[in-house]
Symmetry: none
Subunit: 129 residues, 4 copies
């Protein structure tokens, strides 16, 4: 399903969380789609099932998946609810990263183009929803 990168220092469970979030956000995984069982994914990635378990718990806590006893885990549909804390944190992080790039000599015009690209491809990719 996806590759882990042990070298980048990120905890394994966090990489799994991020990958699933990416798939859900970009629409690779549709709402209410079943995701692999803990044991299957653990076997496939050859890592400890506890690690998968922890990742799924975190995804559930963040509202990206829900689990049904005896059936498995499924992706949630987006809530369209703006969690103010999370929004503020994300905005601040975006701000910091942009400033760091600018400080390194990245051109503001280049940056604006890059952002527009992201936004337009978002609108495009979401027209079929």
């Amino acid at each position: 399903m996806f590759q882990l990168d042990l070298k980048n220092g990120k905890p394994i469970y966090e990489q799994i969380v991020d990958k699933f979030k990416e798939f859900i956000i970009t629409g690779v995984l549709k709402p209410d789609e079943k995701i692999p069982s803990v044991r299957d994914l653990a076997k496939q990635l050859t890592i400890n099932p506890n690690t998968i378990q922890k990742a799924y718990r975190e995804l559930e806590y963040q509202g990206y998946v829900y689990s049904v006893q005896g059936l498995g885990s499924f992706t949630s549909s987006p809530d369209k609810i703006l969690d103010t804390n999370k929004v503020d944190h994300l905005k601040e992080q975006i701000n910091n990263n942009i400033c760091e790039l600018l400080y390194m000599g990245f051109e503001p015009d280049e940056m604006e183009k890059y952002i527009k690209n992201i936004l337009s491809s978002w609108k495009g990719g979401r027209q079929n929803d």
Copy 2:
């Protein structure tokens, strides 16, 4: 000089690194300006000198400060050399964060305005350099 949050899970030394990076990037600290000695800052923040030392070393690795035995630590002037790996990493992070916000229902137009704001205040703040 600044506040630490000892509860949010983020390592103390990392908070210090981020704060200094922010000060340097935003121009609060000018190039080759002396920063507090390891012991002074440790006393001021009432944390262990080793923790400050670790933060300063990390800042040195990342190219934001340099230290001279017997003299002190100083902010580095930016080399304006784009490290491809770092740029790619920052861009990917920006992309992910923006997509996550959009997925949560944040309006693309709102986002564009927010980015423009960052860029214009960057240009403005840098005019006096």
Copy 3:
């Protein structure tokens, strides 16, 4: 595993870094091979675990090993990417050392033989990769 010299002024952690680099460069340690845990090596060398940790972190910065929480530390496979700064620094150091030897009366022909020896044994040792 190896011997330390606590008297020669060279920091212990640096000696460990150099030893591991030597093992990795000469192929004694193969890529992605597990290296001793921080605590084990500390016990074996009868030095403090923090010192080992520092050495491993330095090795990680230099790209020779990577660490995974809960799993251990492993040798990295070389990326074969020539970092211009590092190359220049190494070349300058070689140049300086050679000139110093020549100045001390070491014969240029002798030197040429010595270098050829290094190069040929490098090619030989690497044939099995």
Copy 4:
């Protein structure tokens, strides 16, 4: 006379030692030539005279300069005496640096050319002695 680089981490006195050694070895400073007084050099480099003092002591210990009471310090003539310890240390360092470059992907042929270059320019530069 020369520039100091505070950012590279090397102690200041060591940089001075290395610079003088380089000048003496490459023949920029001829044997028995007078070198600047401690106070003059300190003023010129805007650093503490004690630091110069320490550098000169080290140069004297290594046999590159000698000082005469009331007259100043002068460069020594090369002794042509091979200090076995030093020779072995330098050779090992050359070996290590070459292997590190080769490991990084530097071509052995390229390396051989580089060394030959050093040796031939040494012979050329020394014909006039």
